[in-house]
């Protein structure tokens, strides 16, 4: 998967509240499918479907233990998504900070402002 496609998959996987709850649960430690299904009013196959999506996005992996096949959280794609978002958040924060400064400057010397009809 290229970087953009990987981000798409991460964001799509995060777009569902059940999947976010599953990730939040896995952040506290690995868990089997049965354990993951417990807090949800959902069948095991329905949970498995969500797990498939998370797995395809690389957000979870399946542990060694053959019997329980526990799922565990993979943080790398989350880190990459956060980096990406943070970059763009910074860009906009920086844009608006520049706008703050510009507005201040415009108010400091109102006489110099040329009014153009818009």
């Amino acid at each position: 998967m290229n970087k953009s496609a990987a981000l798409d998959a991460t964001f799509a996987a995060l777009a569902d509240p059940t999947r976010r709850a599953i990730l939040a649960r896995l952040a506290t430690g690995e868990a089997s499918v049965v354990e993951l299904a417990e807090p949800f009013a959902m069948s095991q196959p329905a949970i498995s479907k969500h797990l498939k999506v998370l797995e395809r996005a690389g957000l979870i992996s399946i542990g060694q233990e053959a019997q329980r096949r526990p799922r565990k959280l993979e943080v790398k794609p989350l880190d990459e998504a956060v980096d990406w978002i943070e970059r763009y958040r910074e860009i906009w924060a920086a844009n608006y900070e520049r706008l703050d400064a510009l507005l201040e400057e415009l108010q400091a010397k109102p006489a110099k402002r040329k009014r153009k009809k818009t």
Binding site: A27, I91, W92, Y96, Q107
Partner: protein, 165 residues
Amino acid sequence: MPKPLEVTLPSDREVRVVRSFNAPRQLVWDAHTKPELIKKWMLGPPGWSMPVCEMDVRVGGSYRWRWRSDEDGKEFGFFGTFTEVNKPARIAHEEHYDPGDVGGAMSTEPALISNDLTEKDGVTTMVVTMRFPSKEARDGAVSTGMTDGMEMGYVRLDETFAAVA
């Protein structure tokens, strides 16, 4: 101090950004409608300039924004048409993403962006609402780089990390 950027998701197809500025709304309006002012602040990532900023601010008038990388000369931008112009309170436009040579999908249907300004005690609050043609388009906007859609991913991650942290 102005309040920090506030981002919400009012619906599947929308993103809303709220930001306050210590300035009368006429000035905030000018900063969003006059090319010579826009070019001073809407610069994008470090190392990018905004060589093209054309604004024909009237209903049916068009606009074109383009950014260029100093490093390799690559460009991308947005263009579209103004659908509402109610100076200095509200302006709305239809927006198309222009991938230039940066990449990302060219939008087939435009996003609808509105910008409402209210002023109280010398502070102007700006509410930007972006409505995408579909949830997929909104989600897609996230992967195209410096689109407004990025905010939505941020909100989503916020929720996730509030739980994970």
